[in-house]
């Protein structure tokens, strides 16, 4: 009987999440859903995100009321066919709750990312790997200016189901060394290639966001054999414009009040910028060496308020598959950068989306990457 009842539990968005708030239900009790339909909004200390139904069925119960904070894995709702009697559902809920033990350690599955610090050319590089049990070409994720590997918190877990996924902190960012050399895409790409060697990666799919996109392009230019495909998310290097209000504001703002409007430029839905997100960036910026590193990168890449490293030509010479994903309301790097690209390049533009589609439209972006990598290109 219970096979026809599917528990919906508090999801785990990213490594750090131990609990989440059921912000709101997007599906009423009694509605029929397909797998992948968004059924609720889940709010964590870092982000609010839509939660997709894991299966098809009728949403029979909303066990968690809106506004309730629950540990990861706790029961929030019940999916079942319409003909499953209420008594069975009640019995299922009480059995589930009796046996549920909150697991803060996050050791729920073997897809759990592992984080470690790797030595790469005298730099400490903080790396987070997941899905190492999968064969096939791994996916390497490169974040952008001022970001870190947690920018992929919605991406890495979803793509790990079928693939080894490696995210890392660029030099100058996150928990990696703060020495950025001249801060150019060339210098970062050299470090990324060295990291690939240390991790013994002969061939990787590369997804790069923003400045990470330019680094990915540079990597494809200098190491075409290493790069199996390119997914460029709102990448630098394809246009010339850059919001210096953002770049300078990010470097200068050191209090929550002044940083919040700067970070809000990253997203179309401004409510996505949470207190916790702002706090974690303030904490990052307090680390020794971060401000000089960011200033070097800005000076090298965005001197005179324009992008200094045009990389469009890489798309003419690089022979692997390329897709470009971009939010139409990007306030940092204009979506115009996705225009007039070679025909072979797949371009997806997301409406009502800012500079971080991998957070703002994570289900769509995850699907796009998955389909792209699975469609015979890997």
């Amino acid at each position: 009987m219970s096979e026809t009842i599917t528990p919906i539990t508090m999801p785990k968005f990213g490594l750090a999440m131990t609990e989440g708030k059921l912000a709101s239900w997007s599906t009423p009790v009694g509605a029929t859903v397909k797998a992948g339909d968004e059924i609720a909004d889940i709010e964590t200390s870092k982000i609010t995100n839509g939660y997709e139904s894991p299966a098809a069925g009728v949403l029979r119960r909303q066990v968690a009321p809106e506004g309730e904070m629950l540990p990861v894995g706790a029961l929030i709702g019940i999916l079942a066919d319409a003909d499953v009697p209420d008594s069975d559902i009640d019995a299922f809920i009480s059995r589930f709750n009796e046996s549920f033990i909150s697991d803060d350690s996050g050791s729920a599955g073997n897809d759990e990312p592992t984080r470690k610090v790797t030595e790469v050319e005298n730099l400490k590089i903080s790396v987070q790997e997941s899905g190492s049990q999968h064969d096939g070409i791994p996916l390497l994720l490169i974040h952008g200016f001022g970001g870190d590997l947690t920018n992929w918190m919605m991406t890495q877990p979803a793509l790990t189901e079928t693939r080894r996924v490696i995210a890392f902190d660029l030099p100058g960012h996150g928990e990696s060394s703060k020495d950025v050399g001249d801060g150019s895409p060339v210098s970062f790409a050299t470090t990324v290639a060295a990291l690939a060697e240390v991790l013994d990666l002969q061939r990787v799919h590369v997804a790069g966001h923003s400045l990470g996109g330019a680094i990915a392009l540079e990597l494809a230019k200098t190491h075409p054999d290493l790069v199996a495909s390119l997914t460029l998310i709102a990448p630098a290097g394809l246009g010339q414009d850059i919001s210096m209000t953002f770049i300078n504001g990010f470097i200068e703002a050191d209090r929550r009040k002044t940083l919040e409007p700067v970070l809000q430029q990253l997203v179309h839905d401004k409510s996505l910028i949470t207190r916790q997100m702002i706090e974690s960036i303030i904490r990052y910026k307090r680390l020794d060496g971060v401000i000089p590193a960011l200033k070097t990168i800005a000076e090298t890449n965005f001197h005179d308020g324009r992008q200094a490293f045009p990389l469009r030509s890489v798309l003419e010479t690089y022979s692997g598959p390329v897709q470009v994903l971009w939010g139409e309301q990007d306030e940092i790097l204009s979506v115009a950068g996705s225009e007039d690209l070679p025909d072979a390049v797949t371009v997806i533009r997301y409406p009502d989306t800012g500079h971080m589609p991998q957070l703002e439209k994570s289900p769509d972006v995850n699907k796009a990457i998955k389909n792209f990598l699975d469609s015979g290109n890997s």
Binding site: E175, K178, D254, R255, R256, R275, R283, R286, L287, D288
Partner: protein
């Protein structure tokens, strides 16, 4: 990034600054332990509560100085060493012992810059334990930060968590003025995520640990955690609070306090130091003077009674501000209505 205790956070701050800058030395009673006896044991204690453990081993006797039990001599020596180019971190053990060396702090270190026309630098840090709740009795339990706050020329830091402690201590060591760094002795085992790399938190910049619309709570040191707990419970009753951790009592971020009171119109101040002329009276005076028009209710202070800290556990617990006392104070200002004039 890993979980670290308040004790580990302070130890790591000292260690990283000693590695970074050879001028940083530490001195104090028992900071290494084992000296002076016949056992030959070195680095046995790392201070009475183990905060400086391991530093002697890494940095040696030239930089980790176990001093005689004479606050006047080694605090004076530290002030002189600072004035002549080192960056000493002297440990006073219990802040209650300040009476033995107050001249060295108040009349010497705090005055050097001023008396020498701005030409002298005194990069001295004095660390000490403060606070009740440890069953250490009246002579080892006081929260004397108001005493130091009163003296121009000193900077005074009261960290509220392990993350705050590490960043503020590194800032203190790099600061060119004398800094009094006070650690609540009940908090040494509290843990939270603390970055492994060095970082600094600027002085005079308050931290909002909660943001709400109804009541502003200003709390110091260990009381910040109490205020957060009270705010979380009150949220469920429909009273939303802003909690301000000023981090440093001198300089004091009066701007943030006034901004928040302007938003909420109600103020509760939580201060575990003796209630006369403490930080609660100081902040209350500031707000009464600068934000009178914003106030919708009287300012409430959650403070201990004006007595020595009792030794008996029951009395000591009664003495200290508590989460319940903070909640009651917040409820009373939230419910307060100005009487209409007839």
């Amino acid at each position: 990034m890993s979980k670290k205790s308040f004790r580990q956070a302070i130890n790591e701050a000292l260690r990283q600054e000693m590695r970074r800058d050879p001028r940083v030395i530490i001195m104090g009673e028992d900071v290494a332990g084992g000296r002076g006896g016949t056992s030959g044991v070195q680095d046995a204690w790392g201070g009475v509560l183990g905060v400086t453990k391991g530093l002697l081993t890494e940095f040696g006797e030239d930089r980790v100085l176990d001093t005689p039990i004479s606050e006047a001599s080694y605090i004076g020596a530290a002030a002189g060493a600072a004035a002549t180019g080192l960056r000493p971190v002297a440990e006073l053990m219990f802040v209650d012992f300040v009476g033995c060396c107050l001249d060295q702090i108040m009349n010497q270190a705090a005055k050097f810059r001023y008396m020498f026309g701005g030409k002298a630098r005194t990069p001295l840090v004095i660390r000490a334990m403060y606070g009740a709740g440890f069953n250490a009795a009246a002579q080892h339990s006081q929260a004397l930060y108001p005493l130091f706050t009163h003296i121009p020329g000193l900077k005074v830091v009261v960290p509220s968590s392990p993350y705050e402690a590490k960043g503020l201590l590194i800032q203190a060591i790099r600061d060119d003025d004398p800094v009094i760094f006070l650690e609540n002795k009940v908090m040494y085992d509290e843990e939270e995520d603390v970055p492994d790399d060095p970082y600094t938190i600027p002085f005079g910049e308050a931290n909002l640990t909660r943001e709400g619309n109804d009541v502003t709570i200003v709390a110091f040191g260990r009381m910040v955690g109490f205020a957060n707990q009270a705010a979380d419970r009150l949220e469920k009753e429909g009273i939303s609070c802003t909690v301000i951790d000023p981090r440093t009592t001198s300089p004091l971020d009066s701007g943030t306090i006034l901004d928040c009171v302007a938003d909420t119109g109600r103020l509760v101040i939580v201060d575990e130091s003796s209630p006369r002329c403490n930080l609660a009276t100081d902040v209350a005076a500031l707000v009464a003077e600068e934000a009178f028009d914003a106030l919708k209710a009287p300012i409430r202070r959650v403070v201990p009674p004006h007595t020595p800290v009792p030794f008996a556990t029951i009395l000591e617990n009664l003495y200290l501000p508590s989460v319940e006392k903070i909640e009651a104070a917040v409820r009373s200002v939230a419910a307060y209505r100005v009487k209409e004039e007839v």
